[in-house]
Symmetry: D2
Subunit: 341 residues, 4 copies
């Protein structure tokens, strides 16, 4: 069986795992106050070109989204997000559980448009009864999106501009950030992400770590009491240095980029193989998630030797499926999959 279900099916990249093993017996203080964590934060600040940024390490994406959004919003505010945004769909109401509404925007391939954000805010404040409604207090986007799409630099700049005009922070969910940056045609750099957003995070769980998300607060003072909030959200790892050790491994010599590039290369190879055989993509994703419309009999045949997910309900004769590559995926596995078609 070959696996294309998701990018979190295996443990950590061997280079990350080795560092965990090497440091395993060392004794350090807990809760991320150790030297490994400080070092990883410094590496990330450098990679972002933001010497004054604050970097916090959390365990997983849902808890990161909930903690950051809870920290950024006032009680009367909600978070703007694409209707398909992870926080709106797949986090079991974690945002609402902290008391905030997700205010939905139309989306295309998971992306929101700056003009829609501007319109939402303008319409909101031109409504006489706006004090009876939930104020848009921040914008959440994902890069890449839940459908694997990426924003262009000009799109990101426009979103950043509309947020700053309106005085609300822009938060970028980068659970798969590496794959977006490594995508063919991408013109956005990590420094752009850091420059254009107020808070974002660099996903580790899906890009080579056992777990871990590095939250970058780009402007000092924006989230002044984040540490107690992390604790309150149950998001503080006792052995916090495990996060520092992993992110140091990923950012010391370009491992994060190498994993991302190889994973995206294999996804491109997979896409090329499918399209060469005449199958159409359901979404035109340049990242490590690939979506195809396949005849049901092809799906059934593939399922005998490959594992992957249905995307939405099974159709009459044709259905949408998703293939995801990760750090464990090999050229041979992609070739085998294409061979099975």
């Amino acid at each position: 069986m070959i696996y294309f279900d998701s990018d979190y099916m295996a443990g950590a990249h061997p280079d990350v795992m080795r560092r965990l093993v090497e440091t395993n017996a060392e004794q350090t203080v807990g809760y991320g106050c150790d030297g490994y964590t400080a070092h990883a934060a410094e590496l990330i600040r450098n990679a972002c070109g933001l010497p004054d940024a604050k970097v916090h390490f959390l365990v997983g994406g849902t808890q990161t989204n909930a903690t950051v959004i809870d920290g950024l919003l006032s009680r009367h505010e909600g978070v703007l997000a694409a209707e398909s945004g992870h926080i709106n769909v797949h986090e079991a109401g974690a945002i609402e559980a902290t008391g905030h509404k997700v205010l939905t925007l139309p989306q295309k391939e998971g992306k929101v448009a700056a003009e829609d954000v501007r319109k939402y805010i303008r319409d909101f404040y031109s409504d006489d009864t706006y004090e009876h409604m939930v104020a848009p207090g921040m914008l959440y986007i994902s890069f890449p999106t839940e459908y694997g799409a990426i924003y262009s630099l000009s799109e990101l700049e426009a979103l950043s501009e509309v947020c700053h005009e309106a005085g609300i922070p822009l938060f970028i969910d980068g659970a798969r950030l590496g794959y977006g940056l490594a995508a063919k045609g991408n013109d956005v750099t990590l420094k752009d992400i850091a420059r254009l957003s107020d808070v974002f995070y660099i996903g580790g769980t899906k890009v080579g770590a056992l777990f871990g998300e590095a939250v970058v607060v780009t402007r000092p003072g924006l989230l002044p009491h984040f540490t107690p909030l992390v604790k309150q959200h149950g998001a503080m790892l006792a052995k916090g240095r495990l996060l520092g050790v992993q992110f140091a491994a990923l950012f010391e010599d370009g491992l994060y980029e190498r994993i991302s590039q190889n994973t995206v290369r294999l996804a491109e190879k997979l896409k090329d193989g499918f399209t060469a055989k005449g199958y159409e993509t359901a979404v035109d994703s340049p990242t490590n998630q690939q979506f195809f419309r396949l005849p049901n009999e092809v799906i059934d045949r593939l399922k005998e030797n490959a594992s992957f997910e249905m995307w939405g309900p099974r159709g009459e004769t044709v259905s949408t499926v998703r293939f995801v590559t990760g750090w464990t995926t090999t050229d041979e596995e992609v070739e085998m999959l294409i061979g099975l078609l």
Copy 2:
């Protein structure tokens, strides 16, 4: 430098780490739906003597407390706990953040008395205005307590009885459960814990794992929608099998008990060394946390070569300090510490 600050200063016990490395490249489904997790749950059910128990694996203690308590309480209820209980003092308001009040009880060495629980409940319902007050909806205790003390079997039975009389669940925080079970003079078994509580957890973070707490719901149907709640609380690990692998390592051949026994043995040795030199304990703890009243000059001298925590503010001439042993502690380290006195 020798370290006695806490029991979460190093990584995982080598046997646990080895299993993580061995299984690292394997591909499994996420979110704890894998075979390792199922196996670990089965091992724990067997160890508890509860074939029908539900076992869930979460990452850390604060998130476990908040998720379980949120799941057990109705909106108008609060949780009874010792004034010194971890949920009341050191979780940054995680319980209140889910909307529930911590209703405090007097404590002795972190323990609450059955008669105090009974009195609280009786007084509550005999107050005409009780519908204007927060109803006691469950009892939280820790075994061992935050001061290292343990309940006797008869004390636990009395607490269980008063809870069940009142129709409220008993929840035991077992972040250091192993050390309580391994304590000299302890007459409580894991099966007793499982029999007398409604929900409890077996701490991994402080007993040999990288991280992880195994929640045991002793009665089926008690927490029927726990999985979405875990997700909502941001407490669901994407690569959930990491928890299964670790707990399987801990429970397959008695590793959890061996770690616990050796750690407690070293704590006893440490205590004997201190008391032999005439220093008095601040709490009479039979577990891996030891508290002493030491002259400040002794503390200052020890600090040159040993790392440990002050317990409360520094006194005029004498202060209280805490020494904690863990899976990394060696006989030599304890002897060195005593030698430093």
Copy 3:
């Protein structure tokens, strides 16, 4: 100036006010434990044909919605509602503030269709990842809707059936219930509302009272700890008997129905006047809210002598406006308004 802005612009109907004055100096216990409140509850139980129903009196609509929904849902659940539902749009996030997501359904004139509810629930549970999503835990509808529309008996029966099939309660926001029951063409009775819903409320604020909403829990045991929840939500009136006195006045000799019928009659007269002059309705409402598409110059002219609300943004040449009748509205006022056209 004649006023058609809303149905809560004046105080209480004179008959209600007189009762408040008559009883003003009496001394009774607080918090709704008095005889007036018990008497009003009995009158309402009788009117509903539900001798075992529990009746609670709260002050306003938003607090009633938040308290009831908070009481009915488990923590992992959300409330299904029309996209245009008051709880989704105009309550400043009161539902989310209690931790629950509003799950939106398509609407027509503010109404939801049973088939859409059924589809939502079926799709939800057929999604493999449903435990990562917010479970539909109840259905909220308004009768009449925010656009003045009413459900037919068969539509209500279908909604009730789909809810009970799915095991979720049906909650009806009856802030303007009287006007729905008095509508031309309505085939639903108060007893039907009581029989088909699990919880509903009879709006007083907009139908002749100074304030007050009567919550009817149709099945005993459904909201067992509602009183402390009302207190927790800050929705318990100290001088609770003010609610009892008012609802007794409204329900003792049919005043609630008389107010409703007269108000709806005047709305019909207003609608007839407008349509006779060739103006089209924006929504075909049979209740006390009337929506018209009017040329902007007509709107501007009317505004000189009449007060009413724009409904949505001003259009290029034509805009939508709302006229609302209430217990204070007179035949003369309606005639004056039509005369102004």
Copy 4:
């Protein structure tokens, strides 16, 4: 039967009620945007000597406390309050329901001491683990307290100073403010309350209104988004002018003070009567609540003709009872009560 149970047993003072009746048929915009409300706010600003204060009118005390505290605190903060504070004891967990912990302080007759507040804050920030604890984010006190006691001007100044030193707001619950200001020996004026606090409220419910609390935000900009928060808390009255009309009646020609003074005078008369007969007070209250230790047989005898509350459980031979005077209380009633002794 004569009633001394509480100060919210009757309706409104006749002068307040008359104004409600006089204005009953008028049409005004809702939600407190009317002229009566603006006028009442202006009267209160003048009475407070704070021309820039913001004044908001809410319905009841619990909802006012919850809304103000929710507005003042950040998510990681809790509210300091006397252990006996209404928010800690008798609001069914309303504060915790908004996610905040009540941090308790020792009390004497319901009062907290500035030195205890200072010590709490100093101890908190000198604890190394303070980021794992709930930060003290504001101070809540009541004037008069739940036991009828009042702070002296110097005590209030000391509390104000310690709060402002620590950078946290001081919030005064004035549910019975009038009775405190009218107390014999009181040296605090309304202007002092306004000058020394950041937010406080002037209770109407217990001092002559049907209902209503006037929240005074003494510093502009302190609660910038209070209106949507009031709506979110379900605390916004649709017919908001009812609050404005009542508070205008209370503040136009000194009615609030006259009610307060007469009520306190009767309480003093009652106290004098009891002490003259040799009964001792349980609390030395100078306000409208009087607490006595009475032999049970006296209590039983009084109960035949008078209604009042037990304060705590019935004792062996002697119990504590509370007598409360209000705007309805007459000299004759007090004389009758004393005569019954």
